[in-house]
């Protein structure tokens, strides 16, 4: 099977996709299927697990093994799938409500344990399936059906949460940027351990334009930066802006102004163990500093499902072919004759 090549088409199911026309989830689905095609893992070795919400309908549209589970629990179910059979390529598709509200606990623990699953967090900053309530990523003051006077709570930042939970892979992409989306999906799948991809998507019905300030062609190049390992952190329509360290902070500069040359610009190191700079990059909002897209952190560490399997292998090597009856004889026993 390793010799066979696949394309995105091999991962399209016979189900009609039923998101609203213009929904950002279509683009995410496409980029996931393209990445799947490129990975070379066959559909029958692929599992897609989701929770509840618009985004969680995604497994129905992928030709693979899939489970559309219950609200918030996809990370736990995906953990069970991967630990039980580490040979599978396991994707978890979730939304900002599913992952960060009701499923927040499972999310941070899947990240902390470093289970080798690819978590695609589709973030449209709204509850769509229940028709327009604010979510844990909605901005302070956001007006919705359940916050008619504006929210009075700070949102989560998925990058902070992932890195705070000791995550070793975090990437971000925009629904409209197919190239980066596909790139980060592939990187996430190839990363050994838990990978989190935050896909910023648009909800045309209940939160239209929420990422407009970043995604509009007009500003995208100046308000976002696509990070690539080993490449200088340069952005802007004219590729003339860059990031430097200024004291303890990041600072955006223009190359050629104030004596700044390309050599002064930071080079992205996604593999750096220390997460301090990744934290700062993940925190850039697109206002003073460009919002970071691409793979922000990609560091290898001990992988939970592999470690569990290794313990089993080691234990079995010590007592090969051990059956229950052999084990029971090791207990304190006595004979009745």
């Amino acid at each position: 099977m390793e010799n066979k090549t696949y394309t995105a088409a091999d991962f399209k199911s016979d189900q009609e996709v039923r998101w609203c026309p213009g929904c950002g989830d279509y683009a995410v689905l496409n980029s996931i299927q393209k990445a799947m095609g490129e990975l070379g893992v066959p559909p029958h070795m692929t599992a897609v697990i989701s929770g509840i919400g618009c985004s969680s309908r995604l497994p129905y549209y992928v030709n693979s093994y899939g489970m559309h589970t219950i609200h918030g629990r996809a990370a736990a179910i995906a953990t069970g799938v991967k630990v039980a059979n580490p040979a599978l390529m396991v994707w978890q598709v979730t939304g900002d409500g599913d992952c960060l509200a009701i499923g927040g606990n499972h999310f941070i623990h899947a990240v902390r344990r470093n289970v080798d699953i690819n978590i695609v967090l589709i973030n449209n900053e709204i509850y769509g399936l229940t028709k327009g309530q604010y979510s844990p990523t909605s901005r302070m003051g956001f007006i919705s059906k359940t916050s008619p006077f504006g929210t009075v709570e700070e949102p989560f930042r998925p990058a902070q949460l992932t890195l705070g939970a000791r995550g070793d892979f975090f990437a971000r992409t925009l629904d409209v940027d197919l190239k980066t989306s596909q790139e980060v999906m592939l990187a996430a799948a190839r990363h050994q351990g838990c990978s989190v991809v935050e896909a910023l998507t648009n909800c045309v019905i209940f939160n239209d334009g929420t990422h407009k300030a970043l995604s509009d062609k007009e500003f995208r190049a100046d308000r976002t930066i696509v990070l690539r390992h080993g490449q200088p952190m340069i952005f802007g329509k004219n590729q003339d802006k860059g990031l430097i360290i200024d004291g303890f902070d990041l600072k955006a500069v223009v190359i050629g102004e104030n004596g700044i040359t390309e050599n002064d610009i930071l080079v992205h190191d996604a593999h750096c163990e220390d997460r301090t700079l990744h934290f700062k990059l993940g925190n850039m909002t697109g206002i003073d500093l460009p919002k970071a897209m691409g793979v922000i952190r990609d560091v290898e560490g001990s992988v939970y499902d592999q470690a569990v399997a290794q313990q089993v292998t080691d234990a079995q090597a010590k007592t090969p072919n051990r059956k229950l009856k052999d084990f029971l004889k090791t207990l304190e026993t006595w004979e009745i004759k």
């Binding site: 029958h44 559309h68 069970g80 799938v81 630990v83 499972h106 059956k323």
Partner: protein, 616 residues
């Protein structure tokens, strides 16, 4: 042995070990029960410990107990009231007043009965025995602490460590009292403390000193002897319900060829199941200690989807948290074993005490029409058999199965003959096979039992999606069609109902012409059976029908319940099973005997209740 000592033969004896929760009474009790079992006696044990790990020393809230029932005939319970009490301090004496017979032998560490000890237990006078009205007891008072200190004065241990050996002195004293050769006890300790030579030598010395103390100073006291039982030949071990449950799951894994997966979260009194299985990687068992109860069951569902024999273990509060996920397994028709070791409720309730009050939660505690199988173990050792059966039913019928045990079974122990797996039925997972590929859909069913077929990741050509949304009965696409939902609801219910075809019929034990039928389920079996036997011996016409299979009920349930003039359903709740029987079988009006004290039944109270009905 002293030639002058009198020795009395006993058929059964109940011994209660009691002290501070740090006194090592659980260990002493289990060592004594092992000794008796090795000698060939029947044993049944039950620990009764506080929820606090170390409550303030010497107080009544910190008293920890361990009861052992030893017999030369079949024994079904750890016994009602104790014949012998070992009380390591005044608080232990006070707490156990209600747990012993008026004429019991009471062994105390008199050093602990000083002013401070008496004050901590809130005694008001100087004579605790008179104050408690224990006038009929036979007291063996020994300065245990003083003697242990003297015994180990040469050792290099500090005072605190020395006093930790007090329990071994008590064990030695009991060996003398029950004519158990001290060599046997020494041998047991040598095995137990193999890796801790310093502790071993201290314990051995104190054990022998305790034995000699009894022998030398109480040579004229009557000692006891319990004859060996006529047990079936074989290799035996002393097994607790939680251990047996874990082993039963392993046996089912071996028999089915499916790898075993347990997703669980620590909770009293179920935690030992997770602990046992976490240690069994040598048999390929994978365990995940999840972040919460929900993740425990969800990881198991994930593993089940992948083709493992998947289980989760918990107690009542955890079962409540798992209910939505169990509903997912009902809907997706995936095998799942849920072990609920029941404890006192509601809410956090009485974590270390036993109860049968989760029955209705197991049967009905989910949203929607959500039928699943519910079965119950009835002795510590048959937790093995029912864990095995729970797995078999789950896998072969593609359904969640809830196995109910309880704190009494989980922590209680009995002698268990090591099983021969050849005597257990096969477990055949209903995997799809290659020739189905063309026509197969996820909800195609085996016409024999209504179960769907199982396709797992890795099987090429069987890629499919399942989930919590209602699906078309044929294509398995999402469906909100009205008729389809009714049809799927019926199919899910019928699948469970048809399991009645493969489970054993309900047995009636005791007097076939009984005028009164005792009905029980789960962990109360030993007490009900003992009561029934003793009542029969006293001439009362009583029988017992004890349920292990609850949903579905055995097919002959109605016939059995209508065969006897009077039916009394006895359970450790307010009447949940009695109510369930009334809804399932029309035209019956069983009487009830209920108790919700966090404690097992007493054989005596069941007998009295039965007599009051028959004699009325």
């Amino acid at each position: 042995m002293s030639d002058t000592a009198k020795m009395t033969s006993l058929e059964k004896v109940v011994i209660r070990f009691s002290g501070d929760s740090g006194d090592g009474m659980q260990l002493t009790g289990s060592l004594f029960s092992n000794l008796s079992a090795i000698y060939g006696n029947e044993i049944s044990t039950f620990p009764d410990y506080p929820a606090e790990i170390r409550a303030p020393q010497g107080t009544t809230s910190g008293v920890s107990g361990y009861q052992v029932h030893v017999g030369s005939t079949r024994i079904y319970t750890p016994g009602d009231l104790a014949d012998v009490l070992i009380a390591m301090n005044p608080a232990a004496l006070k707490v156990n007043k209600r747990n012993i017979k008026p004429s019991a032998i009471v062994i105390v560490d008199e050093d602990a009965f000083d002013k401070a000890g008496m004050n901590k237990a809130h005694f008001k006078t100087e004579n605790p025995f008179l104050e408690l009205g224990m006038t009929g007891i036979q007291l063996i008072s020994a300065p245990i602490s003083t003697m242990v200190k003297a015994s180990l004065s040469e050792s290099e241990m500090d005072n605190k460590s020395i006093l930790r050996s007090k329990n071994m002195f008590a064990l030695g004293l009991l060996c003398w009292l029950f004519n158990i050769p001290v060599d046997t006890a020494m041998h047991l300790l040598e095995n137990k403390f193999k890796k801790k030579p310093a502790i071993l030598s201290a314990n051995l010395k104190v054990l022998v000193d305790g034995y000699n103390f009894g022998h030398n100073t109480h040579a004229s006291v009557s000692t006891y002897h319990v004859d060996a039982t006529d047990m079936p030949k074989g290799t035996y071990t002393d097994v607790k319900g939680n251990q047996a449950t874990a082993y039963g799951l392993i046996a089912a894994s071996e028999k089915s060829g499916l790898p075993l997966f347990l997703g669980s979260y620590p909770i009293t009194p179920a935690t030992e199941i997770l602990q046992e299985l976490a240690a069994r990687k040598d048999m390929g068992v994978k365990t995940v200690q999840a972040e919460d109860e929900i993740a425990g069951v969800c990881t198991a569902i994930g593993a089940s989807f992948t083709g493992s024999l998947a289980a989760t273990s918990t107690s009542g509060p955890g079962l409540a948290l798992k209910s939505e996920a169990i509903g997912l397994a009902v809907m997706a028709e995936l095998p799942l074993v849920v072990v609920d070791v029941q404890r006192g409720g509601p809410s956090t309730g009485l974590p270390t005490k036993t109860e049968q009050s989760d029955l209705l939660q197991a049967l009905y505690g989910r949203n929607g029409e959500s039928p699943c199988v519910v079965i119950a173990a009835s002795t510590p050792s048959n937790c093995f058999d029912y864990a095995f059966m729970a797995s078999k039913l789950a896998v072969e019928h593609m359904t969640p199965v809830i196995l109910l045990t309880d704190g009494f079974l989980a922590n209680g122990s009995s002698a268990w003959r090591l099983p021969d797996l050849d005597n257990y039925p096969p477990i055949v997972p209903p995997f799809v096979h290659a020739d189905m590929q063309e026509t197969w859909k996820p909800y195609f069913r085996n016409p024999e039992n209504g179960s769907r077929y199982w396709a797992i990741p890795g099987m090429e050509g069987f890629e499919h999606r399942v989930g919590g949304l209602e699906k078309d009965h044929c294509t398995s696409a999402i469906s909100t069609d009205a008729k389809n939902h009714q049809r799927m609801t019926d199919l899910r219910q019928a699948k469970i109902d048809r399991i009645a075809d493969v489970i054993p019929q309900l047995e009636v034990q005791g007097d076939p012409d009984a005028e009164l039928l005792l009905v029980g389920w789960g962990g109360t079996f030993g007490h009900l059976y003992s009561a029934m036997e003793e009542l029969n011996a006293e001439g009362y016409k009583v029988a017992l029908a004890h349920f292990n299979y609850i949903s579905p009920l055995p097919k002959n349930t109605e016939e059995v319940l209508k065969r006897f003039p009077k039916v009394v359903v006895c359970e450790l709740n307010m009447g949940q099973f009695a109510g369930y029987l009334r809804t399932k079988i029309s035209g019956i009006a069983p009487l009830q005997f209920n108790k919700v004290e966090g404690q097992p039944f007493m054989v005596e109270e069941i007998k009295e209740h039965v007599k009051s009905i028959i004699n009325a």
